[in-house]
């Protein structure tokens, strides 16, 4: 068996530094937007007392969910073994740390009082799933950091498997925790479903892998290194399975909701007459994020096309973004039913009507900056640490059973 050689990402200066500079620029713009929102208060955003979590939360949740999924490749490699995935483990760990950090930055900067970060870190209400999530996130950084170390340092070789297992379970807990944030909102019909937590786990697999494929291909393109067809085909098939599973879970979610009579209203809203949310569901989530990628991934016409894989991964991410948007914003826009059997004639507070939300530019810039934070961390990490194999050419015959 050929030993995998890892080497820092070292690429021709202009390409690498240019990339870093543009990411840094996006981040600066996002920070400016965050400052603008904090300085003026949230009235400059589209958020209100009706839609209390807006676009920044969509970005943040999307990144956090993807973070846990990005670790999948490492888990497959070192927990379940497998020569195809093993060399990719280190990068997978780095990417998951980057994505989580990006998501948390957005979450933090969207708080009403981000200056009270210390309060958030020191005053806990242990009944709150949110507080548990803060612990889960901190733990994730620690465990994945150790895991990376164990993968990279030969002296810690023997810890690799146990830490790998720990990371595997921790990240399942993390996604369950993220999904449960919605599970606790009993009064809001859209979130009142037990399937929410497993659905978030499968969503994380899919988004995480899509991010992984894109960043991996980008990194190898930046560095002029090569990836074998077989290896990519493996990743691509796995992505196909995950995308299919996400679609399946969405189907089950809506079917079970349709089964519960008092949820018919919210189902009608998402599936039929919710305007923008209905469009986002069908066009964004189902077609762009599901059907087209599946076609690109499985059609023999694109069997060896790397371009098709990239496009499919990008579409999975876009579709995933819409999916989270529909869950977070759509779920809030649908009115809570305070008075069953009654129709609201008048209210100064939008009781009984669909709440409006048009995100402001600043919110979008902050969210995009979060993605840039993730990417810049990965780019710098890959440059400083030996996470990427020199070559990802396919293993020789017989090695990959």
């Amino acid at each position: 068996m050929i030993k995998t050689q890892y080497r820092e990402l070292y690429c021709s200066s202009p390409r690498y530094w240019g990339g870093l500079a543009s990411l840094a620029f996006i981040i600066l713009v996002g920070l400016g937007a965050a400052f603008y929102m904090e300085h003026n208060g949230h009235f400059v955003t589209g958020m209100s007392n009706q839609i209390v979590w807006g676009l920044p939360h969509v970005f943040a949740i999307f990144l956090i969910v993807a973070a846990s999924g990005a670790l999948n490749v490492a888990s497959i490699g070192s927990v379940f073994g497998g020569p195809m995935y093993k060399p990719l483990g280190r990068f997978s760990g780095l990417l998951s740390i980057g994505l989580l950090a990006g998501g948390l930055v957005v979450l933090l900067l969207d708080l009403g009082r981000p200056d009270r970060l210390i309060v958030a870190m020191t005053t806990y209400n242990f009944k709150s799933i949110f507080a548990w999530n803060i612990i889960l996130y901190t733990g994730f950084f620690t465990i994945v950091g150790l895991y990376l170390w164990a993968m990279m340092d030969r002296k810690f070789e023997q810890f690799k498997r146990p830490i790998g297992f720990a990371a595997f379970f921790w990240r399942l807990a993390l996604t369950t925790g993220t999904g449960s944030i919605f599970g606790f909102l009993v009064a809001r019909e859209a979130y009142d479903a037990a399937i929410m937590a497993p659905m978030f786990i499968i969503m994380s697999f899919s988004y995480g892998l899509a991010f992984f494929i894109i960043t991996l291909m980008a990194a190898y393109w930046w560095a002029d290194r090569s990836i074998g067809d077989l290896r990519l085909a493996k990743l691509k098939n796995l992505l196909g399975v995950f995308v299919g599973a996400v679609l399946y879970f969405a189907l089950v979610y809506h079917l079970t909701n349709l089964y519960v009579t008092q949820h018919h209203g919210v189902e009608r809203f998402i599936l039929l007459d919710g305007g923008i949310y209905t469009n986002m569901f069908w066009i964004g989530q189902v077609v762009i994020g599901g059907i087209i990628p599946l076609f690109l991934l499985y059609s023999p016409a694109f069997a060896t096309s790397r371009f098709a894989i990239t496009v499919a991964s990008l579409l999975v991410l876009i579709g995933g973004f819409f999916q989270i948007y529909v869950i977070v914003i759509g779920g809030q826009a649908f009115p809570m039913n305070l008075f069953p059997g009654k129709e609201v004639l008048e209210s100064s507070f939008f009781d009984g009507v669909v709440a409006g939300y048009s995100p402001s530019l600043a919110e979008a810039l902050l969210g995009i900056a979060g993605v840039a934070v993730s990417m810049i961390l990965v780019a710098i990490g890959a440059r400083m640490l030996r996470v990427l194999p020199e070559s990802l050419e396919d293993p020789a015959e017989g090695e990959c059973v």
Binding site: S128, F184, L185
Partner: protein, 257 residues
């Protein structure tokens, strides 16, 4: 099964001890200054009382908003300025509304009812359960409120409240009352005029205003004291909690809805 199982159980409670304690609590905290200090803490508050409200929707008048205006004034909400050029819709969606009037029509019978909606002061408040820092808390006397010193503005409590009772402060506050401190980026909601109660008063601003208009739709008092007017009223007539199915045991009850 009894129809009135909504109501707090008074029998099992020894009320003499409680009334003594309640009277004690009322005398311990005189003076406005102490009230302000108390508003964010549990000190001097007794679990022998549970403050609550009974709203008779039959008496609540269509088009009257005396309670809302009184609340706005009492808590300095009317001092908050509308950002320049903001649309009516956005202003209504973003300005704090501790109490709001809602007009309903029964889809079967066509019966119209009017009622004020505010924080229901749940015994098992979801807003308190979800708050990561514990800023959202329930006092021993049943009042649910936000400690604005540790609220980080995450708005999770707003997501969790089934009654949309909470407001986030979306802009800078130029002017405010010492009795009702507020700050940009924090969440707030009706606290049953805790400042007045802690100062020994026994009515809320909305109740006073409603009485002044002659409607008397709002009755405020101690649910745990079987001799209080509210406890007797709850015993005498059928009342309900909004969204009783969530089993939050709200402190605010409604009749005739």
């Amino acid at each position: 099964m009894s129809i009135n199982n909504d109501q707090p159980d008074l029998q099992r409670r020894d009320f003499i001890g409680k009334t003594v304690l309640a009277a004690g609590a009322a005398t311990v905290a005189p003076g406005v200054l102490l009230t302000v200090a108390n508003a964010g803490s549990d000190e001097g508050v007794s679990s022998a009382v549970r403050w609550g409200m009974l709203i008779d929707t039959n008496k609540c008048v269509d088009g009257c908003s005396a309670c809302v205006e009184a609340c706005d004034k009492e808590n300095g909400i009317d001092l908050i300025e509308r950002p320049q050029g903001q649309s009516d819709e956005m202003w209504n969606a973003q300005r704090p509304q501790w109490i709001r009037k809602v007009k309903l029509r029964d889809t079967q019978t066509g019966e119209i009812s009017n009622l004020p909606m505010m924080c229901q002061h749940c015994e098992h408040p979801p807003c308190v359960d979800v708050c990561p820092t514990g800023a959202s808390f329930k006092r021993a006397d049943g009042i649910v409120m936000v400690d604005r010193h540790i609220c980080i503005g995450c708005r999770y409590c707003m997501m969790a409240c089934p009654y949309k009772a909470r407001s986030f402060i979306h802009q800078d506050i130029a002017e405010q009352l010492t009795s009702a401190p507020r700050g940009k980026g924090c969440v707030e909601s009706c606290h049953l005029c805790a400042n007045r109660i802690d100062a020994g008063r026994e009515t809320t601003a909305c109740q006073d205003a409603c009485n002044q208009e002659g409607h008397k739709a709002i009755l405020f008092g101690d649910l745990k004291n079987p001799d209080s007017e509210i406890a007797r009223a709850l015993k005498a007539q059928h009342s309900r909690q909004i969204r009783a199915d969530l089993e939050l045991n709200t402190g605010v009850r409604y009749t005739n809805v």
